[in-house]
């Protein structure tokens, strides 16, 4: 015991000094390591950090949030945007159908989506991927989304793919925080202010319909679409998921999706399944319709059909 103490009296102080020096050095190195975070001035306010889930917000709370978001857009992009939060209407069940016989693969739908939905310019993001397919095969493995030549090419047909707004959606099922869900009118949406960015939905989606904001989207002020929906085309924050919303800021107030309006061949049919007189009902009842990956049981609201 005593010699243990004796051996300690000299060594311990030196050792204590060494330990203190090591701890100081470590703390300084740690401060240096997290400096990018401490020096960062993110756009997000405390209110944004504490913001509740979309479904828990009262109308008054939503009004405050929208005012905040509009002010943020003004501050960041110098643009006056108008954000609305249109709700699903009773008796409306949206669905989309695409005529493979007339699509020419011009990608104008994808381009319209890119502009309408305020996508990041550099990555040329869009919710629609157009595949150039081999005549005689429905095998996507033989298709290509990266074609770069005049269209249509002989021996090819074209198949745009976007969110199928599945009734049995794998993406909403897997979300750990209920940040994505299916609305009453059939549209699958994301609460950009609730998503934690785990990307489980992106892994679950069989249609490659979901996109992640790998960085803060960059759009020149003049190109920003200013009529924005809270759940749809407002400029998304960094690090969250996004997806096609059937342009709900347009379609919920009687307009058509941007991709449909841009289509030069009339390949796209959008409408209300609950309305027996709608064009979409007529197509689904009278045309040869097929569903992509029907075997997965996802029950999409997006259909492909042929003219004859």
């Amino acid at each position: 015991m005593s010699d243990h103490d004796a051996s300690c009296s000299g060594g311990c102080t030196r050792r204590t000094v060494m330990k203190a020096a090591g701890a100081t050095l470590g703390a300084a190195a740690f401060a240096k390591a997290i400096a990018p975070l401490t020096e960062w001035k993110p756009a997000e306010s405390v209110d944004a950090f504490l913001q509740k889930h979309y479904k828990e917000l009262s109308e008054a709370e939503m009004a405050v949030i929208i005012t905040r978001l509009e002010a943020e857009a003004k501050a960041q992009h110098g643009v006056a945007v108008h954000i609305t939060d249109p709700k699903p209407e009773e008796g409306v069940q949206f669905a989309y159908a695409l005529n493979l016989s007339v699509c020419i693969g011009c990608r104008r739908c994808a381009e319209a989506c890119h502009v309408e939905n305020n996508h990041d310019r550099a990555s040329h993001n869009s919710y629609i991927r157009v595949f150039e397919m081999e005549q005689g095969s429905l095998d996507l493995a033989k298709g290509s989304a990266s074609y770069d030549h005049p269209v249509p090419q002989p021996g090819k047909y074209y198949m745009p793919v976007q969110c199928h707004h599945c009734d049995n959606a794998p993406c909403t099922k897997v979300c750990p925080v209920e940040a994505t869900w299916k609305e009453k009118d059939g549209i699958v949406v994301v609460d950009y202010n609730w998503c934690i960015g785990c990307r489980y939905c992106e892994a679950a989606c069989p249609y490659h319909a979901r996109r992640f904001n790998w960085q803060k989207p960059e759009i020149p002020a003049a190109e920003i679409t200013t009529e924005q929906g809270y759940l749809s085309n407002r400029v998304r924050p960094q690090g969250v998921m996004e997806k096609c919303t059937f342009c709900l800021h347009r379609t919920r107030s009687g307009r058509l999706p941007a991709c449909l309006e841009a289509c030069p061949t009339g390949a796209r049919v959008f409408g209300n399944l609950a309305d027996p007189a709608s064009e979409i009902r007529w197509v689904l009842e009278n045309k040869r319709v097929f569903i992509l990956k029907e075997d997965l049981g996802t029950r999409p609201r997006f259909f492909y059909f042929f003219s004859k």
Binding site: G22, D139, E178, G197, E202, Q215
Partner: protein
């Protein structure tokens, strides 16, 4: 059980403070090798922290991931370490359920590994989040917990639960030893049973996370969970074997050959089962020749001119096959260097097989059959290595604190007489030294002095103790004397067995290490405390 009441019942707070002080000393004291190890780990961890801070500021675009391969190195690493954490159960079952004394001490090395591995898992998932600031959305009650629908919420529950269980079990047992109290089986055994089922659940749930996705045929197989478990029971034990060898060599902790032998016998079988399942998976997918096997073909041979994962996969197969062969060889236990090499090989092999080889190909080709390859960026490697270094830091510190508590005298064993306390402490030191000498395999001529050293000291101490009791007129002196005599007789028997030709040193060391040390602990916190209480009453 009034005899177990401490002589001076220390308040739990005082005892905890003393433990914290001692733990700090243990955790920060060591040789040059220890300081080098800790400095390197800290440096790597800090580089990782810095890279993560950059990633949080600039976005996940700094990684090699994209909308095609949307999970990469982080989730691969996560998946692998869930397996390492689950593997602790392979030692818990024999140690607690079947009272296998061989694993008595080694089991804590496995349980603490589970804690460190879960730390790595939780960190890996955190660094993969696009919005780490919103982690609270994932908490039940305050956030919106999509349970039971989302398998990720199940994973949150099982991983944190497993962490809690292991912290509770290890913490309770160490706390009892520190305070010199006999652990109550009725308290900790239910947790132990629960942790066994739970260990299987963490890997099953993690497999379900992937195999439940119908849109990803590469993962959508019922064999995934069994494969996860089989590979976990290769990689985990392999790590523990190396940890035991390092601790024995550098820390001087006498675990002996038996736990290592047990683990080698285990890996011998699990390594083969794992390879068999991989082969079964390959056959099923490739023989039918459907497009659903596209990911596997990409992994094995490359597709459409893309073959970034092919060398990874075949390296993993080669490492696992060679290691499995080495484990089958009966002589492996005698060649420690080769054993360590086999463990490292299979650990790396499974890391590739279950990470790069399982998570990445799930995304290649994409669900729309586009082939976009994945290469981790420097940032991703920095963060991944930082996370692993963080886990190793946690593991090292836990071991530095837990092992001294388990193998020596603790203040909780105090009998209130400083001289006797210091003698008790010395007894543990000499006992451990003897075990180490026997295990070192030197001739009986070398062991004899160490044994005599312990023997003399024991007799001296017992005589001192008995004198104190005599003076105080302790009524149970006769019984206490008998216990002392029993221990001395045990030492005599040990000397005879050691001298006998062909003595099984390993068995003797194990006996000494576990039975005599346990006897000493029980004797001190039982019989010795009783006389201490008597002394207290009669100053």
């Amino acid at each position: 059980m009034s005899t177990l009441v401490p002589a001076r019942p220390a308040s739990p707070l005082r005892s905890a403070l003393a433990l914290a002080r001692q733990a700090f000393a243990w955790a920060t004291d060591g040789g040059p090798l220890f300081y080098t190890w800790m400095t390197v780990l800290t440096a790597v961890a800090l580089v990782g922290v810095n890279a993560w801070a950059e990633q949080t500021v600039h976005g996940m675009g700094v990684t090699g991931m994209g909308d095609h391969v949307s999970w990469g190195l982080y989730i691969s690493n996560f998946t692998f370490f869930v397996g390492v954490a689950a593997a602790a159960v392979m030692m818990v079952i024999p140690a607690y359920l079947y009272h296998d004394h061989e694993l008595h001490d080694a089991v804590i090395v496995g349980e603490l590994l589970a804690i460190a591995a879960i730390t790595i898992c939780l960190l890996s998932v955190t660094v993969d989040l696009g919005r780490p600031d919103r982690f609270w959305h994932l908490m039940p009650v305050v956030g919106r917990f999509n349970w039971p629908l989302s398998m990720l919420t199940w994973d949150v529950i099982v991983l944190n639960g497993y962490l809690g269980l292991n912290v509770t079990i290890c913490g309770y047992l160490l706390w009892c030893r520190w305070n010199g109290v006999v652990p109550r089986k009725s308290f900790y055994l239910p947790f132990v049973f629960l942790s066994i089922v739970w260990a299987v659940s963490i890997h099953t749930v993690t497999a379900f996370l992937y195999c439940g996705l119908g849109g990803r045929p590469f993962w959508n197989t019922a064999l995934l969970a069994p494969r996860f478990l089989a590979s976990a029971f290769v990689a985990g034990p392999a790590f523990i074997i190396v940890a035991l060898m390092v601790l024995q060599r550098l820390g001087g902790y006498p675990f002996g050959d038996r736990p290592i032998g047990f683990l080698v016998r285990l890996v011998r079988i699990t390594a083969l089962i794992n390879l068999f399942m991989l082969a079964a998976e390959c056959f099923t997918a490739l023989y039918a020749g459907s497009t659903h096997a596209a990911s596997l073909r990409y992994l094995l041979f490359g597709e459409h001119g893309a073959h970034a994962l092919v060398p990874w996969f075949w390296s993993a197969v080669a490492l696992n096959v060679i290691a499995a062969g080495l484990f089958l060889w009966p002589g492996l236990l005698r060649h420690r260097g080769l054993l360590a090499a086999a463990c490292v090989m299979t650990f790396v092999g499974i890391w590739i097989e279950k990470g790069m080889g399982l998570i990445i190909p799930g995304f290649i080709p994409s669900t729309l059959h586009e082939v976009v390859e994945f290469t981790p960026t420097v940032t991703e490697w920095k963060i991944t290595l930082g996370v692993i270094a963080g886990g190793l830091l946690v593991y090292t510190l836990l071991l530095k604190i837990a092992l001294p508590i388990l193998s020596g005298w603790t203040p909780g064993m105090s009998v209130g007489v400083p001289e006797l306390d210091s003698q008790h402490r010395e007894l543990f030191t000499r006992l451990n030294r003897l075990v180490a000498a026997i295990r070192a395999g030197r001739g009986s001529a070398d062991v004899a002095p160490v044994l005599a050293f312990l023997d003399d000291y024991t007799r001296e101490h017992f005589a001192d103790e008995e004198r104190v009791m005599e003076r105080a007129g302790y009524p149970a002196l006769a019984e206490h004397r008998a216990q002392h005599a029993g221990f001395c007789a045990e030492l005599v028997r040990l000397r005879e067995r050691l001298a006998a030709p062909g003595a099984d040193r390993e068995e003797l060391a194990g006996h000494l290490h576990l039975h005599l040390r346990d006897w000493l602990v029980r004797h001190i916190i039982g019989a010795d405390r009783a006389y201490a209480a008597h002394l207290e009453k009669k100053p």
